[in-house]
C-alpha cells in the first residue's frame, strides 16, 4: 500500500469544479469554497492561460485532479502516454487528491469521450485492480475511484457494485470518491434503494464526495430513467442522501460538480452554502 501521508488531504469543506470563467470571481470572494477540482485532461497543454490560472489558484487553494479519460476499466492496457501526462500534471501541481472513474472510455485506440459501464465480475475486479496498481505506482500516490452513473446492467454481472468497490479497495489500497448523485441516479435506474447502497458501501475508504444535477427521462417501458448531466442544481432527494451518508461517515470534502450550462459564480456559491450547512450540522 502507498504512503498517502506525503500529500496534504482535501479539507472537509465544500469545493467546486473549477471553470476558467470564474477565475476573477474566485480570486475576489470564494465564499465557503475551500478547495477546487479540475478535469486533468483540460490542463494537458504546454502553457498559456489554463496553466497560468492554476499557478495562481494553487497558491490559495488545495486542488483535486480528477481524470476523465484514463479508461481504468478498459479491456486493453492503460494508455502509457496518457498516464505519463497525468504524472507530469500531478508532479507539477502536487494536488491534495487524484481521482478517476470506475468506467471505460478507450477501446482499440478510439477514445469515446464518455464513461462507459462495466460488468461486475471477478474478471473485471482483477483487470481494474491491476490498472489501479499501475496508476498508483506510476503516479507515486494513492488514487480515489469514483462510482459511476449507470443506465443499464449486464447479464453477466454476479456481484453488487458495493461489493465490487470493497474488493478493489482491499486489493489495491485505493481510496474512494463517493458520488451521491450517481448513487441516486443508478439506484433509480436499476431499481434498488440508494440508502441500502450507502449501508453496503465501504464508507471508511471515502476521501471525497461529489454532488451534481441530473435530468429526468423514462425508458421504453415507462420506467423512470435519470441521466447524469452535471448541468443543474442538486435535487432535494440527493441532498437528503448526502445527509444520510454524512451521518454515517462523518464530515468529508464535498464537491459541487457543474460542467454543462455552467452558471454564474453566485449560483455555485449558493450550492456550496447548502453543502457547508450539511457539514456544519455534524459539528
Amino acid at each position: 500500500m502507498l504512503d498517502a501521508t506525503r500529500h496534504p488531504s482535501l479539507p472537509n469543506r465544500p469545493g467546486v469544479g473549477y471553470k476558467a470563467q470564474h477565475f476573477n470571481d474566485i480570486m475576489k470572494d470564494a465564499g465557503p469554497v475551500g478547495w477546487l477540482e479540475i478535469h486533468a485532461e483540460n490542463y494537458m497543454g504546454m502553457g498559456g492561460r489554463p496553466l497560468a490560472q492554476l499557478r495562481h489558484l494553487s497558491e490559495q487553494f488545495p486542488f483535486s485532479v480528477h481524470g476523465v479519460g484514463l479508461s481504468i476499466g478498459g479491456e486493453g492496457r492503460l494508455d502509457a502516454d496518457h498516464l505519463a501526462r497525468l504524472k507530469t500534471l500531478c508532479d507539477w501541481l502536487n494536488p491534495a487528491s487524484f481521482s478517476e472513474h470506475l468506467a471505460w472510455s478507450t477501446h482499440e485506440s478510439a477514445f469515446l469521450n464518455d464513461l462507459l459501464p462495466l460488468p461486475y465480475t471477478a474478471a473485471t475486479v482483477t483487470r481494474v485492480a491491476d490498472h489501479i496498481d499501475e496508476v498508483q505506482s506510476v503516479l507515486g500516490r494513492q488514487m480515489l475511484l469514483e462510482n459511476p452513473s449507470s443506465y443499464l446492467a449486464f447479464a453477466e454481472s454476479d456481484m453488487s457494485e458495493t461489493d465490487f468497490l470493497s474488493e478493489i479497495v482491499t486489493r489495491t489500497g485505493c481510496g474512494l470518491l463517493l458520488d451521491v448523485n450517481n448513487v441516486f441516479v443508478s439506484a433509480v435506474n436499476l431499481g434498488y434503494s440508494p440508502q441500502g447502497y450507502i449501508d453496503d458501501y465501504p464508507l471508511n475508504a471515502v476521501k471525497e464526495i461529489h454532488l451534481g444535477g441530473h435530468d429526468e427521462d423514462e425508458d421504453e417501458t415507462g420506467a423512470p430513467m435519470l441521466i447524469d448531466s452535471h448541468g443543474a442544481e442538486v435535487v432535494d432527494p440527493v441532498w437528503a442522501l448526502l445527509d444520510y451518508t454524512l451521518a454515517k461517515s462523518g464530515p468529508k470534502p464535498l464537491l459541487i460538480e457543474w460542467d454543462t450550462d455552467v452558471p454564474e459564480w453566485s449560483v455555485l456559491v449558493e450550492e456550496t452554502k447548502r453543502a457547508d450547512a450539511a457539514l456544519s450540522v455534524l459539528a
Partner: protein, 244 residues
C-alpha cells in the same frame, strides 16, 4: 452471456446496429433506450466538442449542416487521445474531401486556422525579444540574422481572404477582395489573427523555417518592405530570440 467492449463500441458508433445482447433493463430484458443514452452521450459530446473547436466553420455552413457533418466525421475519425483540446486534427482534409461542403471552398483553410488558434492558446510560454533588439545588430550583419519564433505562432497559407472571413464571422467587418494568409500569434494569453499579404507570408514562412533574413527576403519582390512585417511580429511578441 459476455458483452465485450468491441461489441459495445461497435454498437455505440453505429446507430443502425442493435444494442449488445447482454445489456439489461432492471426487469431483465434487453436494454434498448437505456443503451441509447450511451450512444447519445458519445455522439452529442463529440459533436459538441467539434462545435466548440470549429465555431466559424459551424457558422459558415449553419448549425444543422455542421451537426450532420460532425456525425460523419466523428465516426470516420473518433478521438485517438483523451486530450480533447486538440480533437479534430483531420478536419481540414475531411472538409476538402466532403462532397456537400464543396460549395464553400475556403472551409479547409478556416478549419486550419481554428486548429491553429487552439494550439496557440495551449502552446508553451516564451519570453519575447525586446522591440529594439534588431537595433543592436551591426547593419552589415543584418542579412545573417535568424529568428526563433514563439511556440504559439502559426502561419496559415491561403489564397482566400482568410483573415477577414474569420474576422467577419467573429467580430464583424467586411471581407477583403485579396488573398489574406493568416498569422496566429499570442501576445499574452489570447491568440490573435492578423492578415498578411502573400509576399509577407512567403517571407514569414522562410523565417520560421530558419532562413537568414537576407535569404528570406528573396521570397518577396525586389521592392519588398520588411518594416511593416517586422513591426507586426515584434508587437505580437512573435519572436523569442535572434542570432547573427
Amino acid at each position: 452471456m459476455i458483452t465485450t467492449q468491441t461489441e459495445f463500441r461497435t454498437a455505440l458508433l453505429d446507430p443502425a446496429s442493435p444494442p449488445p445482447e447482454g445489456v439489461r433493463n432492471p426487469d431483465g430484458v434487453q436494454a434498448i433506450k437505456r443503451f441509447d443514452v450511451y450512444r447519445n452521450n458519445v455522439a452529442v459530446s463529440l459533436t459538441d466538442a467539434l462545435g466548440a473547436a470549429f465555431p466559424v466553420v459551424a457558422k459558415l455552413v449553419g448549425d444543422d449542416f455542421f451537426r450532420a457533418m460532425a456525425g460523419v466525421y466523428l465516426r470516420a475519425h473518433p478521438p485517438t487521445s483523451p486530450v480533447m483540446m486538440f480533437y479534430g486534427e483531420e478536419m481540414p482534409e475531411f472538409l476538402a474531401g466532403f462532397g456537400p461542403a464543396q460549395s464553400v471552398p475556403y472551409l479547409p483553410d478556416v478549419a486550419r486556422l481554428e486548429l491553429a488558434l487552439r494550439h496557440s492558446y495551449h502552446a508553451s510560454d516564451a519570453t519575447p525579444i525586446a522591440a529594439d533588439a534588431l537595433a543592436q545588430i551591426a547593419p552589415d550583419s543584418l542579412p545573417q540574422v535568424t529568428f526563433a519564433f514563439a511556440p504559439s505562432v502559426y502561419l496559415i497559407p491561403s489564397r482566400y481572404p482568410l483573415q477577414s472571413i474569420w474576422a467577419a464571422n467573429t467580430s464583424g467587418g467586411d471581407i477583403a477582395k485579396v488573398a489574406q494568409p493568416a498569422l496566429v500569434t499570442r501576445p499574452e494569453f489570447d491568440p490573435m489573427v492578423d492578415a498578411l499579404t502573400q509576399e509577407q507570408a512567403a517571407v514569414t514562412q522562410a523565417l520560421i523555417g530558419g532562413q537568414p533574413l537576407g535569404q528570406a527576403l528573396q521570397s518577396g519582390d525586389a521592392g519588398f518592405d520588411l518594416g511593416p512585417l517586422l513591426g507586426l511580429l515584434l508587437s505580437r511578441n512573435a519572436l523569442i530570440s535572434l542570432k547573427t
